[in-house]
Amino acid sequence: MKVIYMTHVSFAVVLKDYLNENNISNKEFAARIGITPKHLIDILSGEVELSTSIIQSISVVTNIPVDYIIKFEENHRMENEIEKFLNEKNISLTQYLNKFSYRELLKNKWIQFVHVDDKMTTLMDILKYLRVSKPDILYKLDKNILYKSKNDKPELLMIWLERCYRIAKDQKVAAYNKDNIELIVDYINTCAKNGEFSEKDLIKTFNKYGIKLVIQEDLPGSKIRGAFKVNKDTPSIYITYKHKRIADIYFALLHELAHCKSDFNQAKASSMVSYDDGNCEDKADKQALNWMVDDKYYQDIISKSFYDIDNENKYPKCFILYRLALDKRIEFSNEYYQLYNYVIDSNDLK
């Protein structure tokens, strides 16, 4: 049996039940809360909204907590805004929920859903998680995102950014100093040279040098690779596990670090998002690749007729192979590529 969706009613509906069951007349109740009977009738019929002072008076007279009344009003308002939005866009509730990959959200528990069997409540929980009071606001916030992809799905992007923001909020970081970026690059290169990847240690190092770092799986259907933003002079880097090979993840990190170096001020106003859809952000890519393997050194390698990767000591082997594969000088199936640019063990990923 399919249960009919619940409707989020205004507090006026509940107040009517209260007055009826307690046999209180409108005249008496209006007098007690200090308004005219006409005003109360307008409230009960939904003609006027409840003001803060009336909510407080109602709370005193009925002993119903203020926050309970406010929740009713907020939920009712939000549901109306959602219905208005869905009508304007000519889209069903289920179709709109699917844009957020809501079934995946039910599984991954990023959001605590109040009533998973009710789709309207589920959508409201998603919007509350995104800290917006109505759907339209999401698309205004989306305008602040740079480097958009033609494949972008703003709903998936906003959920992922919010998830990363909430994780980053709890990180304690030292004061940021741009000069420390090179120290982070050195750290990454040392780890890559040793064939090491530890998410926990990476976060610790980034935090030590004043940068928040979040590595977070994205939702199915999104092509997000990473993002860079600055909140109150503290930079934050978010990357996904889009690619699970060691050099690929380090490249994604270095790419965002390149944004940190050159786009710090711009990122105060906007989030910069990178996608895995072939659209290059040349400047950040070039910087990241140069950090991985110095350009001059790389040019020397590719100019040789023979290059013995096993004897490479100066740069991480996985980085050299990554650049060669990117330039299509070797196949991804190349045995050395597979050996040195290995797939990271899921135990090293949080």
Partner: protein, 108 residues
């Protein structure tokens, strides 16, 4: 509070599918449950009293109920629910003074 719907609740929903008044009342009760903070608040809330909240006893100990409608097909309609881990589990809609719910529990 968080609400979860059991299969018993979903299967018994048919009893009120065509009862507009009961569905409206149930809707108000669900809104009420969603907007309270915890079980203690639910127990002591003025609106819980209005909606006929009661903790059941004897062989139905561990379950609670809200009244939905006086005029069900077979009698008063009641929403039976249980509580655990900050979640209200909607168990059943009863219109036979809990006999139908007891019968359902024996089968499950």
């Amino acid at each position: 509070m968080i609400i979860s719907e059991t299969s018993g609740y979903k299967n018994s929903f048919g009893k009120i599918k065509k009862n507009y008044e009961a569905r409206g009342k149930l809707n108000n009760v669900l809104n009420h449950i969603e907007n309270v903070n915890n079980y203690n608040d639910l127990k002591n809330h003025p609106m819980s009293y209005i909606y006929g909240f009661e903790e059941l006893k004897d062989d139905l100990a561990g379950f609670c109920r809200f009244s939905i409608d006086k005029n069900g097909r077979n009698g008063k309609l009641r929403l039976i629910f249980s509580y655990s881990n900050d979640t209200i589990h909607l168990e059943y809609i009863s219109d036979e003074h809990y006999t139908d719910f007891k019968r359902y529990k024996r089968k499950v």
